[in-house]
Amino acid sequence: MKFLGKIGYTIGLPAVLLLGWWAYASIVPNFFVPPPGVVATAFLDVWVSERFLTDVLPSIARLLVGLGIAILLGSALGLTIGCVRWLRDVLEPVLEFIRAIPPTITIPVLLLLVGINDTMKITVIVLGSMWPVLLNTVEGVRAIDPVLSDTAQVYRIRGFARLWHLTVPSASPQIMAGVRQSLSLGLILMVISEMFAANEGLGFAIVQFQRTFAIPEMWSGIVLLGLIGIALSIVFQIVQTRVLAWYFGLREVSNAV
Protein backbone atom coordinates (compact mmCIF):
# COMPACT_ATOMS: atom_id res chain seq x y z
CA MET A 1 0.00 0.00 0.00
CA LYS A 2 2.81 2.33 1.00
CA PHE A 3 4.68 1.38 -2.16
CA LEU A 4 1.63 2.11 -4.32
CA GLY A 5 1.24 5.45 -2.59
CA LYS A 6 4.85 6.33 -3.39
CA ILE A 7 4.37 5.46 -7.05
CA GLY A 8 1.21 7.56 -7.04
CA TYR A 9 3.16 10.58 -5.82
CA THR A 10 5.89 10.05 -8.39
CA ILE A 11 3.77 9.65 -11.49
CA GLY A 12 0.69 11.57 -10.33
CA LEU A 13 1.64 15.03 -11.55
CA PRO A 14 3.22 13.88 -14.85
CA ALA A 15 0.00 11.96 -15.57
CA VAL A 16 -2.12 15.05 -14.87
CA LEU A 17 0.12 17.18 -17.10
CA LEU A 18 -0.06 14.64 -19.93
CA LEU A 19 -3.83 14.59 -19.59
CA GLY A 20 -3.91 18.38 -19.67
CA TRP A 21 -1.75 18.43 -22.78
CA TRP A 22 -3.99 15.87 -24.45
CA ALA A 23 -7.15 17.80 -23.47
CA TYR A 24 -5.72 21.08 -24.75
CA ALA A 25 -4.59 19.57 -28.05
CA SER A 26 -7.99 17.91 -28.56
CA ILE A 27 -10.17 20.91 -27.63
CA VAL A 28 -8.11 23.61 -29.35
CA PRO A 29 -6.46 21.89 -32.33
CA ASN A 30 -3.17 23.66 -33.06
CA PHE A 31 -0.74 22.63 -35.78
CA PHE A 32 2.21 23.52 -33.56
CA VAL A 33 0.96 21.59 -30.51
CA PRO A 34 0.21 18.01 -31.60
CA PRO A 35 -1.49 15.65 -29.11
CA PRO A 36 0.72 13.32 -27.00
CA GLY A 37 -0.17 10.23 -29.04
CA VAL A 38 1.17 11.78 -32.24
CA VAL A 39 4.38 12.86 -30.51
CA ALA A 40 4.81 9.36 -29.05
CA THR A 41 4.50 7.80 -32.50
CA ALA A 42 6.95 10.32 -33.92
CA PHE A 43 9.31 9.59 -31.03
CA LEU A 44 9.46 5.89 -31.91
CA ASP A 45 9.75 6.59 -35.64
CA VAL A 46 12.47 9.18 -35.35
CA TRP A 47 14.67 8.01 -32.49
CA VAL A 48 14.37 4.23 -32.57
CA SER A 49 16.22 4.20 -35.87
CA GLU A 50 19.56 5.04 -37.38
CA ARG A 51 19.20 8.57 -36.10
CA PHE A 52 19.96 7.25 -32.62
CA LEU A 53 23.44 6.34 -33.80
CA THR A 54 24.06 9.39 -35.98
CA ASP A 55 22.51 12.14 -33.85
CA VAL A 56 21.82 11.00 -30.29
CA LEU A 57 24.92 8.97 -29.42
CA PRO A 58 27.42 11.59 -30.64
CA SER A 59 25.58 14.24 -28.61
CA ILE A 60 25.56 12.12 -25.47
CA ALA A 61 29.22 11.21 -25.96
CA ARG A 62 30.19 14.89 -26.26
CA LEU A 63 28.07 15.70 -23.21
CA LEU A 64 29.67 12.99 -21.08
CA VAL A 65 33.22 13.78 -22.18
CA GLY A 66 32.61 17.49 -21.63
CA LEU A 67 31.06 16.97 -18.21
CA GLY A 68 33.82 14.56 -17.19
CA ILE A 69 36.53 17.05 -18.10
CA ALA A 70 34.59 19.91 -16.48
CA ILE A 71 34.18 18.03 -13.20
CA LEU A 72 37.80 16.87 -13.06
CA LEU A 73 39.23 20.21 -14.10
CA GLY A 74 36.82 22.17 -11.89
CA SER A 75 37.56 20.19 -8.76
CA ALA A 76 41.32 20.02 -9.41
CA LEU A 77 41.55 23.79 -9.95
CA GLY A 78 39.15 24.40 -7.06
CA LEU A 79 41.26 22.32 -4.68
CA THR A 80 44.44 24.10 -5.76
CA ILE A 81 42.93 27.56 -5.49
CA GLY A 82 41.21 26.71 -2.20
CA CYS A 83 44.40 25.39 -0.60
CA VAL A 84 46.75 28.18 -1.67
CA ARG A 85 45.72 31.37 0.02
CA TRP A 86 47.54 33.91 -2.15
CA LEU A 87 46.31 32.20 -5.32
CA ARG A 88 42.76 32.51 -4.01
CA ASP A 89 43.17 36.21 -3.26
CA VAL A 90 44.68 36.89 -6.68
CA LEU A 91 42.21 34.83 -8.71
CA GLU A 92 38.91 35.47 -6.97
CA PRO A 93 37.94 38.74 -8.75
CA VAL A 94 39.00 37.31 -12.12
CA LEU A 95 37.01 34.13 -11.55
CA GLU A 96 33.91 36.08 -10.60
CA PHE A 97 34.26 38.09 -13.82
CA ILE A 98 34.71 35.07 -16.05
CA ARG A 99 31.84 33.26 -14.40
CA ALA A 100 29.53 36.23 -14.93
CA ILE A 101 30.04 35.98 -18.71
CA PRO A 102 27.24 33.82 -20.20
CA PRO A 103 28.95 30.64 -21.43
CA THR A 104 26.97 30.65 -24.70
CA ILE A 105 28.96 33.66 -25.86
CA THR A 106 32.04 31.44 -26.04
CA ILE A 107 30.51 29.60 -29.03
CA PRO A 108 31.14 32.27 -31.72
CA VAL A 109 34.60 32.88 -30.26
CA LEU A 110 35.48 29.19 -30.23
CA LEU A 111 34.11 28.80 -33.76
CA LEU A 112 36.83 31.18 -34.84
CA LEU A 113 39.56 29.82 -32.60
CA VAL A 114 38.91 26.07 -32.74
CA GLY A 115 36.75 25.63 -35.84
CA ILE A 116 33.59 23.60 -36.44
CA ASN A 117 34.26 20.24 -34.87
CA ASP A 118 33.76 18.08 -31.78
CA THR A 119 36.58 19.82 -29.94
CA MET A 120 34.72 23.11 -30.20
CA LYS A 121 31.49 21.60 -28.86
CA ILE A 122 33.22 19.80 -26.00
CA THR A 123 35.18 22.94 -25.14
CA VAL A 124 31.92 24.89 -24.92
CA ILE A 125 30.50 22.34 -22.49
CA VAL A 126 33.70 22.30 -20.41
CA LEU A 127 34.09 26.07 -20.25
CA GLY A 128 30.46 26.57 -19.29
CA SER A 129 29.87 23.82 -16.78
CA MET A 130 33.23 23.94 -15.02
CA TRP A 131 32.45 27.05 -12.97
CA PRO A 132 29.89 25.73 -10.52
CA VAL A 133 32.24 22.84 -9.65
CA LEU A 134 35.27 25.11 -9.38
CA LEU A 135 33.70 27.81 -7.25
CA ASN A 136 31.87 25.36 -5.00
CA THR A 137 35.08 23.41 -4.45
CA VAL A 138 36.93 26.60 -3.44
CA GLU A 139 34.13 27.34 -0.96
CA GLY A 140 34.21 23.78 0.35
CA VAL A 141 37.94 23.84 0.91
CA ARG A 142 37.67 27.17 2.66
CA ALA A 143 34.97 25.86 5.02
CA ILE A 144 37.08 23.03 6.50
CA ASP A 145 36.44 22.88 10.23
CA PRO A 146 39.47 24.39 12.05
CA VAL A 147 39.28 21.67 14.71
CA LEU A 148 39.58 18.97 12.02
CA SER A 149 42.41 20.89 10.45
CA ASP A 150 44.21 21.11 13.82
CA THR A 151 43.60 17.41 14.38
CA ALA A 152 45.16 16.53 11.03
CA GLN A 153 48.15 18.73 11.87
CA VAL A 154 48.61 17.18 15.31
CA TYR A 155 48.62 13.69 13.81
CA ARG A 156 51.00 14.87 11.10
CA ILE A 157 48.70 14.21 8.17
CA ARG A 158 50.33 16.34 5.51
CA GLY A 159 50.70 16.83 1.79
CA PHE A 160 48.87 14.31 -0.33
CA ALA A 161 47.50 12.43 2.70
CA ARG A 162 45.95 15.64 3.99
CA LEU A 163 44.40 16.33 0.58
CA TRP A 164 42.99 12.82 0.32
CA HIS A 165 41.86 12.24 3.92
CA LEU A 166 40.81 15.75 4.92
CA THR A 167 40.40 18.29 2.12
CA VAL A 168 38.58 16.24 -0.51
CA PRO A 169 36.09 14.48 1.78
CA SER A 170 35.46 17.65 3.75
CA ALA A 171 34.69 19.61 0.57
CA SER A 172 32.78 16.77 -1.08
CA PRO A 173 29.26 17.94 -0.14
CA GLN A 174 29.96 21.28 -1.84
CA ILE A 175 31.72 19.63 -4.78
CA MET A 176 28.65 17.47 -5.35
CA ALA A 177 26.38 20.52 -5.16
CA GLY A 178 28.54 22.07 -7.89
CA VAL A 179 28.39 18.91 -10.00
CA ARG A 180 24.61 18.91 -9.78
CA GLN A 181 24.46 22.44 -11.22
CA SER A 182 27.00 21.64 -13.91
CA LEU A 183 24.93 18.67 -15.18
CA SER A 184 22.01 20.85 -16.23
CA LEU A 185 24.34 23.53 -17.62
CA GLY A 186 26.15 20.86 -19.63
CA LEU A 187 22.91 19.64 -21.21
CA ILE A 188 21.93 23.19 -22.19
CA LEU A 189 25.34 23.84 -23.72
CA MET A 190 25.31 20.53 -25.56
CA VAL A 191 22.11 21.55 -27.36
CA ILE A 192 23.19 25.11 -28.03
CA SER A 193 26.60 24.11 -29.37
CA GLU A 194 24.78 21.95 -31.94
CA MET A 195 22.50 24.75 -33.08
CA PHE A 196 25.39 26.73 -34.54
CA ALA A 197 27.10 25.48 -37.69
CA ALA A 198 26.47 21.79 -37.07
CA ASN A 199 25.39 18.95 -39.31
CA GLU A 200 24.53 16.31 -36.72
CA GLY A 201 23.48 16.00 -33.11
CA LEU A 202 20.30 16.30 -31.08
CA GLY A 203 20.25 20.10 -31.09
CA PHE A 204 20.83 20.16 -34.85
CA ALA A 205 18.03 17.63 -35.41
CA ILE A 206 15.50 19.59 -33.34
CA VAL A 207 16.25 22.84 -35.18
CA GLN A 208 16.08 21.02 -38.52
CA PHE A 209 12.65 19.55 -37.67
CA GLN A 210 11.43 22.97 -36.64
CA ARG A 211 12.61 24.59 -39.88
CA THR A 212 11.00 21.87 -42.00
CA PHE A 213 7.72 22.06 -40.04
CA ALA A 214 8.12 18.47 -38.81
CA ILE A 215 6.39 19.56 -35.61
CA PRO A 216 5.69 16.19 -33.87
CA GLU A 217 9.29 15.18 -34.61
CA MET A 218 10.55 18.46 -33.09
CA TRP A 219 8.52 17.83 -29.93
CA SER A 220 9.80 14.26 -29.72
CA GLY A 221 13.35 15.64 -29.68
CA ILE A 222 12.46 17.91 -26.77
CA VAL A 223 11.00 14.91 -24.93
CA LEU A 224 14.22 12.99 -25.57
CA LEU A 225 16.26 15.86 -24.09
CA GLY A 226 14.08 15.74 -20.98
CA LEU A 227 14.64 12.00 -20.69
CA ILE A 228 18.43 12.45 -20.96
CA GLY A 229 18.22 15.07 -18.20
CA ILE A 230 16.29 12.67 -15.97
CA ALA A 231 18.78 9.87 -16.64
CA LEU A 232 21.69 12.15 -15.69
CA SER A 233 19.93 13.15 -12.52
CA ILE A 234 19.24 9.52 -11.55
CA VAL A 235 22.89 8.57 -12.07
CA PHE A 236 23.89 11.62 -10.02
CA GLN A 237 21.55 10.63 -7.17
CA ILE A 238 22.97 7.10 -7.06
CA VAL A 239 26.56 8.36 -6.98
CA GLN A 240 25.75 11.01 -4.40
CA THR A 241 24.02 8.57 -2.06
CA ARG A 242 27.14 6.41 -2.10
CA VAL A 243 29.77 9.13 -1.86
CA LEU A 244 27.99 11.28 0.72
CA ALA A 245 26.43 8.53 2.87
CA TRP A 246 28.38 9.84 5.88
CA TYR A 247 27.17 13.39 5.26
CA PHE A 248 23.47 12.52 5.10
CA GLY A 249 23.84 10.25 8.14
CA LEU A 250 25.59 12.97 10.11
CA ARG A 251 22.98 15.54 9.12
CA GLU A 252 20.13 13.26 10.12
CA VAL A 253 21.72 12.67 13.53
CA SER A 254 22.38 16.37 14.19
CA ASN A 255 18.83 17.27 13.15
CA ALA A 256 17.40 14.68 15.51
CA VAL A 257 19.22 16.08 18.55
Partner: protein
Protein backbone atom coordinates in the same frame (compact mmCIF):
# COMPACT_ATOMS: atom_id res chain seq x y z
CA UNK B 1 55.44 -0.72 36.55
CA UNK B 2 52.72 1.76 37.36
CA UNK B 3 53.84 2.35 40.92
CA UNK B 4 57.30 3.66 40.18
CA UNK B 5 55.95 6.40 37.95
CA UNK B 6 56.36 8.93 40.73
CA UNK B 7 59.83 7.72 41.65
CA UNK B 8 60.93 8.05 38.03
CA UNK B 9 59.68 11.59 37.89
CA UNK B 10 62.25 12.77 40.40
CA UNK B 11 65.21 11.15 38.66
CA UNK B 12 64.64 12.10 35.06
CA UNK B 13 65.07 15.37 33.28
CA UNK B 14 61.83 17.08 32.33
CA UNK B 15 60.01 15.64 29.31
CA UNK B 16 58.23 18.84 28.57
CA UNK B 17 59.50 22.26 29.42
CA UNK B 18 57.53 25.46 28.93
CA UNK B 19 59.91 28.40 29.18
CA UNK B 20 58.67 31.94 29.38
CA UNK B 21 55.89 31.43 26.84
CA UNK B 22 54.06 34.58 25.83
CA UNK B 23 51.39 34.80 23.16
CA UNK B 24 50.01 38.04 21.76
CA UNK B 25 47.33 37.94 19.08
CA UNK B 26 47.42 40.75 16.56
CA UNK B 27 43.87 41.74 15.73
CA UNK B 28 42.34 44.60 13.82
CA UNK B 29 41.53 46.35 17.11
CA UNK B 30 45.08 46.13 18.40
CA UNK B 31 46.94 43.34 20.12
CA UNK B 32 45.47 41.01 22.72
CA UNK B 33 47.76 39.34 25.20
CA UNK B 34 46.42 35.83 25.80
CA UNK B 35 49.38 34.49 27.78
CA UNK B 36 51.94 36.73 29.48
CA UNK B 37 54.74 34.62 30.79
CA UNK B 38 54.41 30.95 31.62
CA UNK B 39 57.15 28.67 32.83
CA UNK B 40 56.78 25.13 34.13
CA UNK B 41 58.26 21.67 33.58
CA UNK B 42 56.55 18.32 33.35
CA UNK B 43 58.45 15.20 34.37
CA UNK B 44 58.19 12.02 32.39
CA UNK B 45 55.05 10.06 33.31
CA UNK B 46 53.53 12.92 35.23
CA UNK B 47 49.77 13.55 35.22
CA UNK B 48 49.38 17.32 35.61
CA UNK B 49 46.19 19.34 35.50
CA UNK B 50 46.08 22.94 34.43
CA UNK B 51 43.25 24.99 35.88
CA UNK B 52 42.44 28.63 35.48
CA UNK B 53 39.49 30.95 35.18
CA UNK B 54 37.87 31.14 31.77
CA UNK B 55 39.71 33.51 29.48
CA UNK B 56 43.06 32.72 31.04
CA UNK B 57 44.51 31.49 27.76
CA UNK B 58 44.50 27.77 28.55
CA UNK B 59 43.65 26.74 25.01
CA UNK B 60 46.21 29.17 23.59
CA UNK B 61 48.89 27.71 25.82
CA UNK B 62 47.95 24.17 24.81
CA UNK B 63 48.13 25.07 21.14
CA UNK B 64 51.58 26.58 21.67
CA UNK B 65 52.74 23.39 23.38
CA UNK B 66 51.21 21.25 20.61
CA UNK B 67 53.11 23.21 17.98
CA UNK B 68 49.89 24.51 16.41
CA UNK B 69 50.67 28.11 17.37
CA UNK B 70 54.00 29.89 17.54
CA UNK B 71 54.58 31.62 20.88
CA UNK B 72 55.35 35.33 20.55
CA UNK B 73 58.15 34.89 23.08
CA UNK B 74 59.65 31.95 24.91
CA UNK B 75 59.84 28.34 23.85
CA UNK B 76 58.52 24.85 24.41
CA UNK B 77 61.03 22.02 24.67
CA UNK B 78 60.09 18.36 24.32
CA UNK B 79 62.78 15.79 25.16
CA UNK B 80 65.49 18.33 24.54
CA UNK B 81 64.12 19.48 21.17
CA UNK B 82 62.48 22.79 20.58
CA UNK B 83 58.85 22.45 19.44
CA UNK B 84 58.14 24.36 16.25
CA UNK B 85 55.49 22.13 14.69
CA UNK B 86 53.40 19.21 15.92
CA UNK B 87 55.96 16.74 17.36
CA UNK B 88 55.73 13.07 16.58
CA UNK B 89 55.54 11.92 20.19
CA UNK B 90 52.63 14.15 21.12
CA UNK B 91 48.89 13.57 20.95
CA UNK B 92 46.07 16.03 21.57
CA UNK B 93 42.47 15.42 22.64
CA UNK B 94 40.26 18.39 21.85
CA UNK B 95 37.17 19.51 23.70
CA UNK B 96 34.93 19.35 20.64
CA UNK B 97 34.94 15.60 20.10
CA UNK B 98 32.14 15.96 17.54
CA UNK B 99 34.33 18.17 15.40
CA UNK B 100 37.69 16.50 15.90
CA UNK B 101 36.68 13.05 14.64
CA UNK B 102 36.53 12.66 10.87
CA UNK B 103 32.85 12.02 10.09
CA UNK B 104 33.59 10.26 6.79
CA UNK B 105 35.78 7.68 8.48
CA UNK B 106 34.66 4.77 10.63
CA UNK B 107 35.82 4.56 14.24
CA UNK B 108 38.62 2.20 13.21
CA UNK B 109 39.79 4.46 10.40
CA UNK B 110 39.80 7.43 12.76
CA UNK B 111 41.93 5.58 15.30
CA UNK B 112 44.29 4.37 12.56
CA UNK B 113 44.89 7.92 11.32
CA UNK B 114 47.96 8.80 13.47
CA UNK B 115 49.71 5.63 12.31
CA UNK B 116 49.71 6.78 8.69
CA UNK B 117 52.92 8.70 9.14
CA UNK B 118 54.59 5.84 11.02
CA UNK B 119 55.20 3.40 8.18
CA UNK B 120 54.12 0.28 10.07
CA UNK B 121 53.06 -3.04 8.54
CA UNK B 122 49.33 -3.53 8.11
CA UNK B 123 49.11 -6.33 10.69
CA UNK B 124 50.99 -4.22 13.22
CA UNK B 125 48.67 -1.28 12.54
CA UNK B 126 45.53 -3.41 12.92
CA UNK B 127 46.92 -4.84 16.15
CA UNK B 128 47.59 -1.38 17.59
CA UNK B 129 44.16 -0.07 16.58
CA UNK B 130 42.57 -3.09 18.20
CA UNK B 131 44.54 -2.59 21.42
CA UNK B 132 43.73 1.11 21.58
CA UNK B 133 40.01 0.47 21.15
CA UNK B 134 40.21 -2.28 23.76
CA UNK B 135 41.89 0.11 26.19
CA UNK B 136 38.93 2.49 26.01
CA UNK B 137 36.37 -0.35 26.08
CA UNK B 138 35.17 0.16 22.53
CA UNK B 139 36.09 -3.01 20.67
CA UNK B 140 32.56 -3.55 19.29
CA UNK B 141 32.01 -0.32 17.41
CA UNK B 142 35.03 -0.21 15.07
CA UNK B 143 32.87 -0.33 11.96
CA UNK B 144 30.46 2.39 13.11
CA UNK B 145 30.79 6.02 12.22
CA UNK B 146 31.61 8.39 15.10
CA UNK B 147 28.36 10.32 14.71
CA UNK B 148 26.42 7.13 15.37
CA UNK B 149 27.85 7.03 18.92
CA UNK B 150 27.01 8.94 22.09
CA UNK B 151 29.14 11.91 23.16
CA UNK B 152 30.98 9.91 25.80
CA UNK B 153 31.79 7.14 23.33
CA UNK B 154 32.98 9.68 20.74
CA UNK B 155 35.41 11.11 23.28
CA UNK B 156 36.62 7.56 23.98
CA UNK B 157 37.32 7.20 20.27
CA UNK B 158 39.34 10.42 20.41
CA UNK B 159 41.28 9.03 23.40
CA UNK B 160 41.93 5.77 21.53
CA UNK B 161 43.21 7.76 18.58
CA UNK B 162 45.50 9.72 20.91
CA UNK B 163 47.05 6.62 22.51
CA UNK B 164 47.34 4.47 19.38
CA UNK B 165 50.77 5.77 18.45
CA UNK B 166 51.96 5.44 22.07
CA UNK B 167 52.82 9.11 22.53
CA UNK B 168 55.20 10.35 25.20
CA UNK B 169 53.00 13.36 25.95
CA UNK B 170 49.26 13.72 25.74
CA UNK B 171 47.57 17.12 25.87
CA UNK B 172 43.89 17.30 26.71
CA UNK B 173 41.88 20.49 26.31
CA UNK B 174 38.83 20.35 28.60
CA UNK B 175 37.99 17.00 27.07
CA UNK B 176 35.03 16.18 29.31
CA UNK B 177 33.43 19.62 29.50
CA UNK B 178 30.63 18.73 27.09
CA UNK B 179 29.45 15.37 28.50
CA UNK B 180 26.99 14.64 31.31
CA UNK B 181 28.16 14.13 34.90
CA UNK B 182 27.91 10.32 34.96
CA UNK B 183 29.80 9.90 31.68
CA UNK B 184 32.32 12.38 32.90
CA UNK B 185 33.05 10.37 36.05
CA UNK B 186 33.50 7.22 33.92
CA UNK B 187 35.84 9.02 31.54
CA UNK B 188 37.90 10.38 34.43
CA UNK B 189 38.43 6.88 35.78
CA UNK B 190 39.21 5.68 32.26
CA UNK B 191 41.91 8.35 31.94
CA UNK B 192 43.48 7.34 35.26
CA UNK B 193 43.49 3.74 34.05
CA UNK B 194 44.96 4.59 30.62
CA UNK B 195 47.63 6.76 32.21
CA UNK B 196 48.67 4.01 34.63
CA UNK B 197 48.71 1.39 31.87
CA UNK B 198 50.70 3.39 29.36
CA UNK B 199 52.70 5.66 31.65
CA UNK B 200 52.77 8.72 29.43
CA UNK B 201 52.98 12.35 30.50
CA UNK B 202 49.57 14.03 30.55
CA UNK B 203 48.75 17.72 30.64
CA UNK B 204 45.04 17.98 31.28
CA UNK B 205 43.41 21.38 30.94
CA UNK B 206 40.15 21.89 32.82
CA UNK B 207 38.16 24.61 34.51
CA UNK B 208 36.71 22.10 36.96
CA UNK B 209 38.56 22.24 40.29
CA UNK B 210 37.26 18.88 41.55
CA UNK B 211 38.29 17.21 38.35
CA UNK B 212 41.80 18.62 38.51
CA UNK B 213 42.35 17.39 42.06
CA UNK B 214 40.80 13.99 41.40
CA UNK B 215 42.81 13.31 38.26
CA UNK B 216 46.20 14.87 38.71
CA UNK B 217 49.38 14.27 40.65
CA UNK B 218 49.89 17.94 40.38
CA UNK B 219 47.71 20.97 39.73
CA UNK B 220 49.07 24.06 38.03
CA UNK B 221 46.85 27.10 38.51
CA UNK B 222 46.85 30.01 36.11
CA UNK B 223 45.93 33.56 36.92
CA UNK B 224 43.41 35.27 34.73
CA UNK B 225 44.57 37.47 31.89
CA UNK B 226 47.43 38.50 31.77
CA UNK B 227 48.28 34.90 32.46
CA UNK B 228 51.08 33.70 34.70
CA UNK B 229 51.36 30.62 36.93
CA UNK B 230 49.44 31.48 40.08
CA UNK B 231 50.32 28.38 42.06
CA UNK B 232 51.60 24.85 41.53
CA UNK B 233 50.74 22.16 44.05
CA UNK B 234 51.39 18.45 44.38
CA UNK B 235 48.33 16.24 44.86
CA UNK B 236 49.56 13.60 47.26
CA UNK B 237 46.41 11.50 47.23
CA UNK B 238 46.90 7.72 46.96
CA UNK B 239 47.48 6.39 43.46
CA UNK B 240 44.37 4.19 43.71
CA UNK B 241 41.48 6.59 43.40
CA UNK B 242 37.77 6.09 43.04
CA UNK B 243 34.92 8.49 42.68
CA UNK B 244 33.33 7.74 46.07
CA UNK B 245 36.13 7.37 48.60
CA UNK B 246 38.67 9.73 47.06
CA UNK B 247 36.22 12.55 46.70
CA UNK B 248 35.13 12.26 50.36
CA UNK B 249 38.69 11.98 51.65
CA UNK B 250 39.57 14.90 54.00
CA UNK B 251 42.80 15.47 52.10
CA UNK B 252 40.83 15.81 48.85
CA UNK B 253 38.60 18.41 50.49
CA UNK B 254 41.64 20.34 51.76
CA UNK B 255 43.34 20.34 48.37
CA UNK B 256 40.17 21.34 46.59
CA UNK B 257 39.74 24.19 49.09
CA UNK B 258 43.26 25.36 48.37
CA UNK B 259 42.82 25.31 44.59
CA UNK B 260 39.46 27.04 44.90
CA UNK B 261 41.00 29.77 47.03
CA UNK B 262 43.81 30.36 44.54
CA UNK B 263 41.35 30.58 41.65
CA UNK B 264 39.32 33.14 43.61
CA UNK B 265 42.46 35.20 44.17
CA UNK B 266 43.23 34.89 40.47
CA UNK B 267 39.75 36.11 39.57
CA UNK B 268 40.01 39.08 41.91
CA UNK B 269 43.26 39.93 40.21
CA UNK B 270 41.30 40.24 36.99
CA UNK B 271 38.88 42.73 38.55
CA UNK B 272 41.72 45.09 39.45
CA UNK B 273 42.60 47.65 36.74
CA UNK B 274 45.44 46.57 34.50
CA UNK B 275 48.55 48.75 34.45
CA UNK B 276 49.07 48.47 30.69
CA UNK B 277 45.47 48.96 29.56
CA UNK B 278 44.77 45.30 28.89
CA UNK B 279 41.42 44.58 27.23
Amino acid sequence: MQFDVQANAVLLTPTLSVQGVKKVYETRNGSVEAVRNLTFDLQQGEFACLVGPSGSGKTTLLKCIAGLLKPTEGLVVLDGNRVDGPPEKMAVVFQEYGRSLFPWMTVEENVRLPLKSHGLKKTERDERVHRALEAVDLHNVGRSYPWQLSGGMQQRVAIARAIVSEPAVMLMDEPFAAVDAQTRADLEDLMRQVWRDIGMTILFVTHDIDESVYLGQRVIMLSSSPTVVQDDIAIDLPIERDQLTTRSHPQFTDLRGHVYEQIQIAKRGQAAPEPDGQV
